[in-house]
């Protein structure tokens, strides 16, 4: 009986109660490391840097526009042949004139230098050369226009128009005469000097190349403002070279990698495949975010917003201050391209 006189104390129950809670806590914690290795570190998100200056953008746009122009050129050629017969021949003539004016300086220079060669060749390969076709078509169009104009003018006042028509006919005749003269000259030259024939053949080949180039440019001019495109092309080529050099630079630069990783970590893209958004990021001198704007939308507003939010969440990029002053200026404005990787 004496053994049992001790009242039940609280020491053992307290220890047991704490033990129960520790076990329960361990059960919640220890289950996590087992389930964690499965997902591991499959980074769903890949934010790829496009460039640090907008030069690459222009280059990309120029490439895109060039591809577009090639398409448009083909379309325009087909369209132009169709149009030539149509009543819109007046516009075609105007365009052809505009194209001559707008053609690049070198093209004009080459055209002038090799005018004789072109005309000689034009007789032989008139069918193949679209520009000469255009010239022939222009002639046809002009004659058609004359007829139409005459028809119209007969109703009103025929004399002035007839005079103009006569002037045009004279101009045509003069052109034809000139061509014939050039051809005769060349024939004489061919007969006189075979060496010069070889040179002429070379010139013809060059002329062909130049002519093709001129055709392309002429088609562009017919599609849009050819001069601007040519200018943009030359600029884009230069900038592509610059941007290429700079991209090579920045590949080794870890600041951009830091930014990329920081943004990737905070990016929660909505479930959507095959989207791509481009965000322009402007930073202040100490790395704080001034603006994050969508420069190229993915078409999905939620996706775009997730991209800008990721940049906003990742800012500020304090590492900017550790860079040189020149590099700092360079990295204060750059673009980030967001493309979801292999989702899940």
């Amino acid at each position: 009986m004496a053994k049992r006189t001790r009242r039940s104390g609280y020491g053992l129950p307290v220890i047991l109660a704490i033990g129960v809670h520790v076990v329960a806590l361990l059960m919640t914690i220890l289950r996590l490391p087992e389930s964690e290795p499965e997902p591991s570190s499959s980074s769903v998100v890949q934010a790829t840097l496009v460039s640090d200056v907008t030069a690459t953008d222009q280059a990309q746009y120029a490439q895109a526009s060039r591809a577009r122009n090639a398409q448009r050129q083909a379309e325009e050629e087909a369209q132009r042949q169709a149009e030539a017969d149509a009543a819109a021949a007046q516009e075609a003539a105007a365009e052809a004139e505009a194209q001559q004016q707008a053609a690049a300086e070198q093209a004009q220079a080459e055209a002038e230098r090799e005018a004789a060669a072109q005309q000689a060749q034009a007789e032989a390969e008139r069918r193949q050369q679209a520009a000469d076709q255009a010239a022939a078509e222009r002639q046809q169009a002009e004659t058609e226009r004359q007829q139409q104009a005459q028809a119209r003018e007969q109703a009103e006042a025929a004399r002035q128009q007839q005079a103009e028509a006569r002037e045009q006919a004279e101009a045509q005749a003069a052109e034809q005469k000139r061509q014939e003269e050039a051809a005769e000259e060349q024939r004489q030259e061919e007969a006189a000097e075979k060496q010069r024939q070889e040179e002429a053949a070379e010139k013809q080949r060059q002329a062909e190349a130049a002519e093709k180039k001129r055709q392309e440019e002429a088609a562009k001019a017919a599609a849009a403002a050819a001069a601007e495109d040519a200018l943009a092309d030359s600029i884009a080529n230069e900038q592509e070279r610059i941007a290429g050099a700079e991209q090579a630079n920045q590949a080794s630069n870890n600041f951009i990698n830091l930014v990329k990783r920081a943004v990737e970590d905070r990016w929660h893209p909505p479930a959507a495949d095959g989207l791509m958004a481009q965000v322009r990021v402007r930073l202040g001198p100490s790395g704080e975010l001034l603006a994050a704007t969508i420069t190229r939308s993915s078409g999905n507003p939620a996706f775009d917003r997730s991209a800008t939010q990721a940049v906003e969440a990742a800012a500020p990029f304090r590492e900017l201050r550790q860079l040189d002053a020149g590099l700092q200026r360079k990295f204060r404005d750059f673009n980030l391209k967001f493309t979801p990787g292999d989702v899940q």
Binding site: R4, S8, P13, Q309
Partner: protein, 228 residues
């Protein structure tokens, strides 16, 4: 399940109110488990003592011997307590009065007092279990509601309502409810179980008190016959 959604991480990142609720619930849970263990031990020991005393009482031992057998500093518990208080009162009253009615009344009164003390002892701290069982789900629910309020506030501040802006808040809010249930469920189960054991023991004590009372009554009847 990524690391940021693990339960310890959620608890650490919860807002202050939710964390306080969680601490309160953890304390309640620990306290209820302390009571559960302490009461379980105490009641199982009481049952064992009750069984042992029953055997001794009905083994034909002389009641005076049984009364004197226990050491002085021993505090009697359970049926033994009832027996001792009743027998002490019987012994005190016997020389003073001839009326058996008065003696039995006194014994019964002292036994009732002893029974009431035993009942208090058996049910000690069980009210804490009952309180935890009934209140902790509400406390946890309060934490959850508070957390979800926070989640909606953060939702109103963010420009875009994605699941990822709300999910951590709701997850950590739900942890509070989970902890409330974690504290409440064992408390409910053990409160029912322990109070059932206690009431059964109390019933045993009452039965014993009645039996002991009838024994004393029989003795008094015999004595009054002899006196007459």
């Amino acid at each position: 399940m990524n690391d940021s959604m693990s339960i310890p991480h959620l608890i650490m990142n919860a807002s202050l109110v939710v964390q306080l609720v969680m601490i309160l619930l953890l304390a309640a849970s620990i306290a209820s488990w302390v009571v559960i263990f302490q009461r379980s031990f105490a009641l199982s020991r009481a049952r064992k003592e009750q069984k042992a005393f029953d055997e001794r009482f009905w083994s034909g031992i002389d009641l005076n011997e049984l009364y004197k057998d226990v050491p002085e500093n021993h505090e009697a518990q359970g049926a033994e307590h009832v027996f001792r208080s009743g027998f002490r009162e019987f012994n005190r009253l016997m020389p003073k009065t001839r009326s058996s009615e008065a003696v039995l009344d006194g014994v019964q009164r002292s036994q009732r007092v002893a029974l009431s003390r035993e009942e208090d002892r058996l049910n000690a701290h069980l009210t804490l279990l009952a309180t935890v069982a009934s209140a902790s789900p509400y406390i946890g629910l309060f934490g959850t509601v508070w957390g979800i309020m926070g989640s909606f506030q953060s939702l109103s501040m963010s420009q875009q309502a994605t699941l990822s802006t709300v999910a951590p808040w709701i997850a950590e809010a739900l942890v509070a409810t989970a902890m409330g249930l974690f504290a409440a469920i064992p408390a409910v189960i053990f409160y029912n179980r322990l109070s059932a054991i206690a009431s059964r023991l109390l019933g045993d004590y009452e039965d014993f008190a009645e039996e002991f009372h009838s024994i004393l009554h029989r003795n008094l009847q015999g004595r009054s016959h002899q006196a007459a």
